[in-house]
Symmetry: C2
Subunit: 415 residues, 2 copies
């Protein structure tokens, strides 16, 4: 018996009786994302405690918040067709400046009509600044006040990334929501080091902002400043206040989920969010697990990106209403049941667990394709659930019921 | 300018103005494949020279011949959704007995409802006998009159494959068209060795046939005998005549495209096909290039399977009306044009060459997904063209025009 349903009585898209690749979603807010505005706008449409239900509207469409943004690292959400990504309810995807500047190159993407045209995603795109991946992937970095010089991890070629160049690259990619260049430290780190990086990031925020405002169509877009300060409450507050004074169009919270416990991350959100202006969107970078998302939404975060659902999918982990499920586990080998019969994502409801298990054990591409699809569907299902719950003033219940489902765990082993 | 069109004035499926994953094909013969028959039947519907346009009808549907069968090695056509495979015009797919008996195991597939249910392909499935891959993949083989004992290349487990067990496995998989166990040699080989293997294969054909006819529902299915004899005309004739006397439901031609030049293979077809009964389907195993397919059809072959379109796709080779195209080539790096704007396969017509190039250079899963899709679309396009041409008595023209397109080569490099 399955008793772990959430209170979401109506699935967020209608089940179809036919096999298909592109489920049509029956969400009453779905037409909302096709709405456009010549200028970048953000509206908070409803609140429930600190949780916010909002909408960012731009020339390329509307992002319903809270929003999870699938990560399209190198111009592709790994192992997915963009049509599937869109059909799952994604309003915006993320592109990685670091990856794209190395290959195929920002100028080449611009020549080919921009990232939307290149990757066949005509909807909003958010890009990071490249800074985070320079720290984690590139070789032979040399940091200075001016910027960072590094060698490509692909071919050793040398690149020069300054706040101005990062913004230029993001403009070449035709990014709708751009990020300032910042310095992101791994935690734990010394307070002195955290402060130095935070102060540098503030100066880079100012330079990035100046470069952004020089873009002729900057009103249609946004650049977000990034709050740093590690796990130090005072530095977080100082960073947020300084950025608020710069009057950015939105604010990112960076340097979290980089090694610290979840409670530290949530404490930083508790401290940071109240310092940020209510009328601007808040984006928690690179976070996180389904639980991280729900807890962060409860603290006033509006946007997320994370590679977890895509990366985990390729490594046989399925996210679901019943928690994390390891599809390589032998318990699935002869289980004819789908991952989640209540889902309308074909990957979740139309393939047997035995087949998914077999595909992952056999290293078949379709295994990663299907589990990625399932995981992105689940993340978007969570976001839709959160948006509905905030609108209806029952976000705390939604979060509790969702967690109870995870706690209860997977359906019973088939006898 | 593109002047290399084939005489096929109407593409075999209609172009849609919308992005989609599942093109609906406008083939006048498409309803044909949904026709069923309680017994296995084959009809030659039209001939043009030695080329035949036919139809195999079974409980699970109709296979329009000439037919190319995508290879679904381990219960998945690599990097494809089955819905896509079907939508491209595939009437039947191939499953590999060797792979499936090792993982997930024939008894397990049977327990899960058979291969059709397991892999979500409710249409006809043809299986090989496992013999070919025992020779090419397994370790520590021991051949005897009785069969072959081998160790799995996956985990070293020992298996015993006899003609009877091969047929039993194929029945457990619920295969619609089964193959006798045979011994397939690589060429060149000594005549004495070729004769020994051919004679053994004939004895195994008889044993396989007996086992097949013991299946309670064998009338709804077929088992094909396999002509062997290497590159020796006399042995080929002897094999074909002996199999003909056994009155199989269809005949495979095995042991070709195993190292010999194309002209040797075609000569063997010239010799073998006339020895086979006109009213039975003929299947050339494991062949081949688009050119191999057209030349073989001209000699009276009805069915093909080959990993080339799927394997080549994962390695950046696109098959097209303009011949083979290497998508890793730098000429595509800034080419905004699609692979083939005339195709209605989204992979071929809706993604830029620059994007495909980027995906392959970046080892992104989507690259292999798209090129596999393109290649299977092209193979099925060729088959549909062949079927139309035979019906209209212009197969020689079709073949010549198609080859002229390949000869002319790719569209000009973009300036």
């Amino acid at each position: 018996m399955r008793l772990c349903f959430q209170t979401e009585s109506v699935p967020w898209f209608v089940r179809s009786s036919k096999l298909h690749l592109s489920p049509i979603m029956n969400i009453n807010t779905l037409s909302e994302r096709e709405e456009t505005s010549p200028d970048f706008q953000f509206k908070v449409l409803a609140t429930d405690g600190k949780a916010r239900r909002g909408a960012i509207t731009m020339p390329r469409g509307t992002i319903r918040t809270p929003a999870y943004m699938p990560v399209g690292t190198a111009g592709t959400v790994k192992a997915m067709y963009m049509d599937q990504v869109r059909d799952l309810g994604s309003d915006v995807i993320l592109g990685n400046t670091y990856h794209l500047m190395l290959r195929p190159g920002a100028e080449r993407v611009a020549k080919l009509g921009g990232l939307h045209e290149f990757a066949r995603w005509p909807h909003p795109i958010l890009t990071d600044s490249g800074g985070f991946q320079v720290m984690s992937l590139a070789q032979l970095r040399r940091m200075s006040e001016r910027g960072v010089i590094f060698q490509s991890h692909i071919d050793g070629r040398k690149y020069d990334l300054t706040p101005e160049r990062s913004i230029e690259i993001q403009a070449l990619l035709d990014s709708d929501i751009q990020m300032q260049l910042d310095e992101c430290l791994a935690l734990p780190a010394e307070n002195k080091e955290i402060e130095r990086a935070m102060e540098l990031s503030l100066r880079w925020a100012d330079r990035s902002h100046t470069a952004f405002k020089a873009q002729s169509d900057h009103k249609a877009r946004a650049m977000f400043g990034i709050v740093q300060g590690g796990d130090n409450p005072e530095l977080r507050v100082k960073s947020a206040q300084a950025l608020k004074a710069m009057d950015m169009k939105g604010y990112s919270i960076g340097g979290l989920a980089v090694g610290e416990p979840q409670e530290v991350m949530l404490k930083m959100l508790d401290i940071t969010c109240p310092e940020l202006p209510k009328e601007k969107p808040r984006y928690l970078m690179g976070v996180g697990t389904p639980d991280d998302l729900l807890e962060s939404i409860a603290r006033g975060v509006d946007m997320f990106d994370c590679v977890m659902p895509t990366r985990a999918g390729r490594h046989a982990t399925a996210y679901s209403r019943m928690g994390k499920i390891n599809m390589r586990n032998a318990r699935h080998a002869e289980d004819h049941r789908p991952l989640d019969e209540m889902s309308d994502c074909p990957a979740s409801s139309q393939y047997s667990r035995a087949y998914l298990h077999h595909l992952m054990r056999s290293n078949e591409a379709l295994g990663g394709m299907l589990l990625t699809w399932n995981n992105l569907a689940y993340y978007q299902y969570l976001m839709q659930g959160a948006r509905n719950a905030i609108e209806q003033g029952r976000y705390a219940d939604f979060m509790a019921n969702t967690k109870a489902g995870w706690e209860k765990g997977d359906i019973e082993v088939l006898e």
